[in-house]
């Protein structure tokens, strides 16, 4: 076994040492053992970094503890396949887990479930590391299921009823996804006779199969398989309408959310990337992913705006971001989705780790709104606003044309490139629209901040994301094939681009009017939509209530069946 393979095996094992260290011994030495438990996690991060460096410069590391040409026990066909995607995820998972563990050593110190909690963080790291480095679909599924359970255990508080309900809901929803995943594996094995990744991709590409699940409805084999697996991805990545477990689990301790939002929830995006060649064979599934992702992004962000609690706001923000990530997958921008999930994971992990302090501070230093002196209206800054206008609306157009000329990107014919460029614009607009709220500071600093933001976003997308794409998928043809498979019909694509453009322009107009103290005229019918829309969003579209109703209906049927069937006591 060479050093790479040894490290690939060692990386998921090391966090278990931390768990054992924390769980062993008595309560008097628990702090010392908890602190010592950090080192195996740091070692995991270092090992993952070394593995990443190794696979960056050579072939993927593959190690199987079974013979793929014969038969394996389905319970645990243990094998590791560490390619660049797996190595990147290993670095992310191990890094985030080490930071959260260190934070929790202090943050959770007085919690009655201190040791259980720290051990669970370490076990979660092991499960995630095994999942991302799985050598076959069955092993991936095994750790996928374990993640479902570990997550519900992390969300458990022994006595708090709402937390118990949340944990129960989390587990049940994940099991729904697990069941769909299982059906996907069984169908894949039935159609292609293998659960090994590369053999599966090759056979699916070489042997087109058409299925007729319902009379008059036909779909290809890869579409049926990927749709079932996508349901699994939807539950883990909290996609609408299977997102309800995420807000329900928000009663869990803050570090759990940091781990959940930075690591666990990315599983859906990882799964789609791991099976990218299979998804690339199914335009229909990619379109479904695009629709689901877009819907989740819009609804998640909208519901976020109406929340009145910091953790729920962040939770719905994550749902929106995960929708954005799945939408990227649906557009064929798989590497961009990974880039997004890493950036979002680090950002949201940091925010969650900080939100405990914010809540704590708010409780200690309550700030009430002033009752007498009105807040002085900040002056309108023409400089800041004009810079914002140019950086958001004018400069992107210049950059777009420049990239077309300099980088030879065919923006007219390749939807993939347009998607990249369009994301630059959307992201920078989002950032700059936020910055223009600093209208009370008519300084060059704000204007400079806008310019730097724009340049940063452009650089990130055009160079970092492009380089990252080339790193994850070195074969450019493969990347193009995914974009082609995900390509939407021309008019629809143009319409969507136009719609989002219109949204951003209207957003600017609205902001402009607001900053000038003017009121934008809105039709009465639009005004009349606001209260019901707010009500709908603040009640999370009543999706939770629909599920609760469904659950109660099932139990009512069960009780009716029970009353009829159970023998009566005389």
């Amino acid at each position: 076994m060479d050093i790479g393979a040894l490290l690939a095996v060692l990386t998921p094992i090391l966090p278990l040492l931390a768990a054992l260290l924390v769980l062993s011994g008595d309560a008097r030495t628990q702090l010392a053992r908890a602190q010592a438990g950090l080192w195996p996690l740091v070692a995991t991060f270092v090992a993952a970094g070394v593995v990443l460096a190794m696979v960056s410069s050579r072939e993927p590391i593959t190690l199987r503890f079974y013979d793929p040409s014969s038969a394996a026990n389905p319970a645990l066909p243990l094998g590791f396949h560490v390619d660049r995607l797996a190595a990147v995820m290993m670095v992310l998972v191990s890094g985030v887990a080490a930071i959260i563990y260190r934070y929790s050593v202090t943050y959770m110190f007085q919690d009655p479930g201190y040791r259980r909690f720290l051990a669970l963080i370490a076990v979660t790291a092991t499960v995630l590391l095994c999942m991302v480095s799985s050598a076959n679909l069955v092993m991936l599924f095994i750790f996928w299921q374990m993640l479902s359970y570990v997550l519900s255990m992390l969300a458990h508080n022994l006595h708090h009823p709402a937390t118990l309900d949340g944990a129960s809901k989390t587990f049940l929803f994940h099991r729904l996804g697990d069941a769909a995943f299982l059906a996907g594996i069984v169908l894949a094995h039935s159609l292609y006779g293998t659960v090994e990744f590369h053999a599966l991709f090759a056979r699916a590409a070489e042997h087109p199969v058409t299925l007729a699940p319902l009379p008059g409805i036909e779909m290809s084999g890869p579409t049926a398989v990927t749709l079932l697996l996508f349901v699994g991805a939807m539950t883990k990545s909290a996609q609408f309408p299977l997102h309800v477990w995420l807000p329900s689990s928000l009663y869990a301790p803050t570090p759990v959310h940091a781990l959940l939002h930075a690591g666990i929830i990315n599983a859906g995006g990882f799964l789609i990337n791991r099976l990218a060649p299979l998804y690339g064979l199914s335009p229909a599934t990619l379109h479904v992913a695009f629709v689901v992702g877009t819907l989740t992004a819009i609804l998640g962000a909208s519901m976020m705006l109406t929340q009145n609690d910091i953790k729920k706001t962040l939770g719905f923000s994550t749902i929106g971001q995960m929708g954005y990530m799945i939408m990227e997958c649906g557009l064929g921008a798989f590497a961009l989705a990974v880039f997004h999930l890493i950036a979002h994971g680090i950002f949201k992990g940091t925010v969650f780790l900080n939100c405990g302090n914010v809540i704590h501070k708010a409780r200690r230093e309550p700030v009430f709104p002033p009752t007498q002196s009105p807040v002085e209206e900040a002056p309108f800054s023409r400089l800041a606003w004009t810079t914002g206008f140019f950086t958001t609306l004018v400069m992107p157009l210049v950059i777009l044309l420049a990239t077309h000329g300099v980088l030879q990107i065919p923006i007219i014919h390749a939807q993939g490139s347009v998607i990249f460029l369009f994301f630059i614009w959307v992201t920078s607009s989002q950032a700059i629209l936020t910055l223009t709220r600093l209208r009370g500071i008519p300084s060059w600093k704000v204007s400079a901040a806008m310019l730097v933001t724009l340049l940063f976003v452009v650089f990130t997308y055009l160079f970092a994301a492009e380089r990252f794409t080339a790193f994850l998928y070195p074969n450019r043809e493969e990347v193009d094939a995914y974009f082609t498979a995900a390509a939407l019909p021309g008019p629809l694509f143009d319409g969507l681009v136009g719609l989002v453009t219109l949204g951003i322009v209207i957003g600017w107009m609205y902001l402009y009017a607001e900053t000038r103290g003017q009121v934008m005229r809105r039709p009465a019918w639009l005004e009349s939509w606001y209260p019901p829309l707010y009500l709908l969003l603040v009640n999370r579209l009543y999706v939770d209530r629909c599920y609760a109703f469904l659950g109660r209906a099932i139990l009512r049927v069960a009780e009716r069946v029970e009353r009829r069937a159970a023998p009566r006591v005389s």
């Binding site: 038969a71 026990n73 319970a75 069946v561």
Partner: protein
């Protein structure tokens, strides 16, 4: 008579002799407890010896599992006079079930009929200990015994009757009442042991008669299996006692094996593994429920809860047993299920989605059961929250080890003559 020919007799005679000798010890519970434990160990040894004769290698997991589970279910029992008859009945059931598996042909069928007959008598004998009527269960078991006797008298033409008898023990809705009554009303360790023994002998009987069953009958069985699995899962959701949840949960999960066999028209060692694992997981959960019953009495689930802080040993083993029972990797139930679904003989159909519903439902009621017992505000209605004692813990922990072993056992330990619970990960030549 050669060793090969005497092996089945020895296998069945050891526990039978143990039960007869044990009658003399009924008034001395500690001694009787030691005696029945010794008998099960000797029985295990005799089964090992008989396997050495290589008479029926196909029955390997069957035969070993029965004395092993008899031992495990007896291990944690308190030495009480009122449980003595249950222990002796365990030995009698062990003898009859081993006989049903070890003997081929009419003797095996006779043992099976005897098994159901004794079960009927046991239900009648202990009818006073149940708060609910046992008549439907008793009628089902009696019907099963009569069907087995009919099959014994007529031979292969009566294969459907024997299959029906199999459906009583390996519970298939609507012939499941006998299983439910046995698991929920009998005293001591009997429910736990029967949760393993009944499905195993039922599976064996059905597998023996499978070649004689028509395709149309198998279609009916497949439909009954799916409907029954969903029906049992639904009922498991609203049961008020742990043993009832486990019983209906077991029926829901065993419906999957009925469907798998009827769908593919063959039995495989993956199906056998699945039956063994579901039975063992149910037995483990029933043992845990018995431990609670000895502390709190036969109270409803809503009367007990929040036990985890006071009973950490129980919390750990019960959580793990529940995971094993609801089909989590790497325990045997999961391995058996995946083995069945990924077997070459498996035929994909939309019914798998209904099976998936039953599988998800198992997560629902099992998780609720465990969460209700262990977490939340402590409520125990005055019972003593004393954690598991060493023998109880050992019995449950060993059951877990057994479930883990069933999940991780290499394929060579299963019947070499049949396709094992294995998955071809990546065949070389493949033709679509």
């Amino acid at each position: 008579m050669s060793a090969l020919a005497t092996a089945p007799f020895v296998v069945a005679a050891v526990p039978l002799a143990g039960a007869l000798v044990g009658l003399g010890l009924l008034n001395r519970p500690p001694a009787l407890r030691v005696w029945v434990l010794l008998t099960t160990m000797v029985s295990l040894g005799s089964v090992g010896w008989s396997l050495g004769q290589a008479s029926r290698p196909a029955a390997l997991p069957f035969l070993i599992l029965l004395p092993l589970m008899a031992f495990l279910t007896l291990l944690g029992q308190p030495a009480q006079r009122r449980l003595g008859s249950a222990w002796l009945l365990t030995l009698l059931f062990l003898a009859l079930s081993l006989g049903a598996l070890a003997f081929a042909g009419p003797v095996g069928d006779l043992c099976y009929a005897g098994f159901l007959g004794v079960l009927g008598l046991a239900l009648w004998h202990f009818r006073g200990e149940s708060s609910s009527p046992i008549w439907s269960g008793l009628a089902t078991v009696t019907g099963g015994a009569l069907a087995a006797a009919l099959g014994l008298a007529i031979g292969p033409p009566a294969a459907p009757a024997l299959a029906l008898a199999g459906a009583v023990a390996l519970p298939l809705v609507p012939f499941h009442r006998g299983y439910v009554t046995a698991v929920t009303t009998l005293p001591g360790n009997l429910p736990a042991f029967l949760a393993v023994a009944m499905p195993l002998v039922g599976f064996h009987l059905f597998a023996e008669n499978l070649p004689h069953l028509s395709a149309s009958l198998l279609n009916v069985v497949a439909m009954l299996a799916i409907a029954g699995s969903l029906y049992a899962s639904l009922r498991a959701l609203v049961q008020s006692h742990a043993s009832s949840v486990i019983a209906y949960g077991g029926i829901g999960l065993l419906g999957i094996v009925w469907w798998s066999i009827a769908n593919s028209g063959t039995t495989s060692s993956a199906a056998l593994l699945y039956v063994c694992a579901v039975g063992s997981a149910s037995a483990g959960l029933l043992l845990a429920s018995f431990a609670l019953r000895t502390r709190f009495g036969a109270i409803a689930l809503r009367g007990v809860g929040g036990l985890a802080p006071a009973m950490p040993r129980l919390a750990v083993v019960l959580s793990l047993l529940a995971l094993a029972g609801l089909g989590f990797p790497p325990f045997g139930v999961y391995a058996g299920l995946l083995g069945m679904l990924l077997a070459p003989s498996f035929v994909w159909s939309g019914a798998i989605l209904l099976i998936a519903v039953a599988w998800v439902a198992a997560s629902w009621y099992t998780f609720e059961l465990v969460q209700g017992l262990l977490f939340g505000q402590p409520r125990a209605n005055g019972g003593a929250q004393q954690d598991l004692q060493d023998p109880e813990l050992a019995a449950l922990a060993l059951t877990l080890v057994l479930l883990l072993t069933l999940g991780l056992l290499p394929s060579k330990f299963f019947d070499p003559g049949q396709p094992g619970p294995t998955v071809v990960m990546s065949e070389g030549p493949w033709t679509p």
